[in-house]
Symmetry: C2
Subunit: 304 residues, 2 copies
């Protein structure tokens, strides 16, 4: 059984690629490691995908899935991909359910935010714990938030959060930042930001929503607490691309051109797992559409 | 009155930029030449914006507009922009209602499809006449369609349409194509495509929907008709960018980097009016989000 396109990953990018490949009358199969939906299904409230003023991530994922199914997209859940063998005009997608042949592959496997490992962290996701200030910052107007991390993402997002929050604490395990100098200067100059150096978050606590974090100074071992409404965690984003033998940056994000072509002809990428200036549902659907149209043109090219 | 961001154009790209700038707590103003909505308001049925299985372009535009308004986006209709004066940290947007000052500008003015000028063309838009096969091709499964044009868009879309339509006529005013050689070869080899050379469409006719086109051979002046369900017109796309003094390609499409920055610092671009491999609602919303976040970071940078 030869597919035109195998799409790996069932988040917004993969499902949009599914809609576009099916509307282009291609034989397409979407593989998903767990269930369809991707990272957004753990998102409590989405306010910034145009057309939906307020929707839960799970409901939006369901709408995307139904939309793709309407056009007959075949999907398989609980299938793990371990590699893609490039046989020229055919790609062999190696999976936990055996090999699948396709003319083109679209990688839309997303990222996994690196967890702090603090007590309570997982319990409060969507109830004060967030991994995306662009997504969730607006919910913290006139509130107090803690940002954990010292890299560029942590610092630019801390600055961003000062536009909404009345107070932003940056908790960092070292005594200096890794972020670009200019970002550091802006953060130091910002009166709403306070730095808590040499410290790690040990626990995130509250009744129904986050109320405080307990931090430990790694030099003195002293613990203290900060009362806060939110905790934004920026300690790294892991692209789910280990299986893919295409060109990536030093962190593992796949490097595409503007047509979402990767370094291997016939393998395309879409969404959060690529090198990109922004990771949002709005950008993922754009990527998915482009990857699908590029895959369609590629298949036409090799078929003639 | 100084705005943080002036957004020029109220289609999906501009309205998404509006949602994102307002959620970033920026003072933003959206200017629109006619009414809000953009090119999609003339689209009868949209099936490929994820989350909405079937929606009219006008209804989708309304949802985008309401979404932006919910976050307090200020909009002005019936305002024509004639230029942007770059005064460094301030931009002066020259409009039919006077000058407007802003720290950053997002250009999201879209394109205008070049019209054939055939009788009936405008009457049948959305009822058989289309300017986008990726958008509307799926509605013509097992039908007959006419493609007008001889460039790369016309020919790649004619090939694309053979996947749905049972027959595709390509009507071209010359006796050879301008499209890339490889596209020509694929089109000539495709048994579903017939070429009608040296011919122009004089009239598109039907009762409620398109039923036929009347063509005239420009060498013999003889007229004839082709029975058809659809007419896809690919005689050029005009970017609405004449007012903008930023780097463009030879056709006037604005050249951005991946952050949607143009050649002028503080001026950003989003959507159809930029150089891009695909012009869809899905890609426009991605662009709008990126342009807004880039504008926000730029304003932070110049403000410190």
């Amino acid at each position: 059984m030869m597919y035109d396109v195998v799409i790996i990953g069932g988040g917004p990018a993969g499902l949009t690629a599914g809609i576009y490949t099916k509307r282009a009358m291609l034989k397409a199969l979407l593989l998903e490691k767990t269930g369809v939906g991707g990272q957004i299904i753990v998102t409590d409230l989405v306010e910034n995908f145009p057309g939906f003023q307020e929707i839960s991530g799970a409901d939006l994922a369901k709408k995307f899935e139904e939309h793709a199914q309407k056009f007959g997209l075949e999907t398989k859940s609980m299938v793990e991909v371990s590699g893609i063998e490039d046989k020229g005009k055919t790609k062999l997608v190696k999976t936990s359910e055996g090999d699948i042949e396709a003319k083109a592959v679209i990688i839309a496997t997303g990222t996994t935010p690196r967890k702090l490992g603090a007590r309570g962290e997982l319990d409060f996701i969507g109830r004060g714990v967030s991994y995306c200030a662009t997504c969730d910052g607006f919910f913290f107007r006139e509130k107090v938030v803690v940002v954990v991390g010292g890299g560029d993402s942590a610092i630019t997002e801390a600055i961003f959060l000062t536009k909404m929050a009345k107070k932003v604490y940056v908790v960092h395990r070292r005594d200096k930042l890794r972020a670009e100098k200019i970002n550091q200067e802006h953060a130091f100059a910002n009166p709403k930001i306070s730095f808590v150096w040499d410290s790690v978050v040990e626990e995130i606590a509250g009744k129904n929503v986050v109320e405080k974090v307990i931090i430990r100074n790694v030099k003195t071992n002293a613990t203290s607490e900060i009362k806060t409404d939110g905790v934004f965690i920026y300690v790294g984003l892991i692209p789910n691309t280990a299986f893919a033998n295409v060109k990536k940056d030093e962190w593992g994000f796949i490097i595409p051109n503007d047509k979402m072509e990767t370094s291997v002809r016939g393998i395309f990428v879409a969404g959060d797992c690529r090198v990109t200036p922004l990771r949002q549902i709005a950008t993922a659907v754009g990527d998915g559409a482009i990857a699908a149209v590029s895959a369609e043109r590629y298949i036409e090219e090799i078929s003639a």
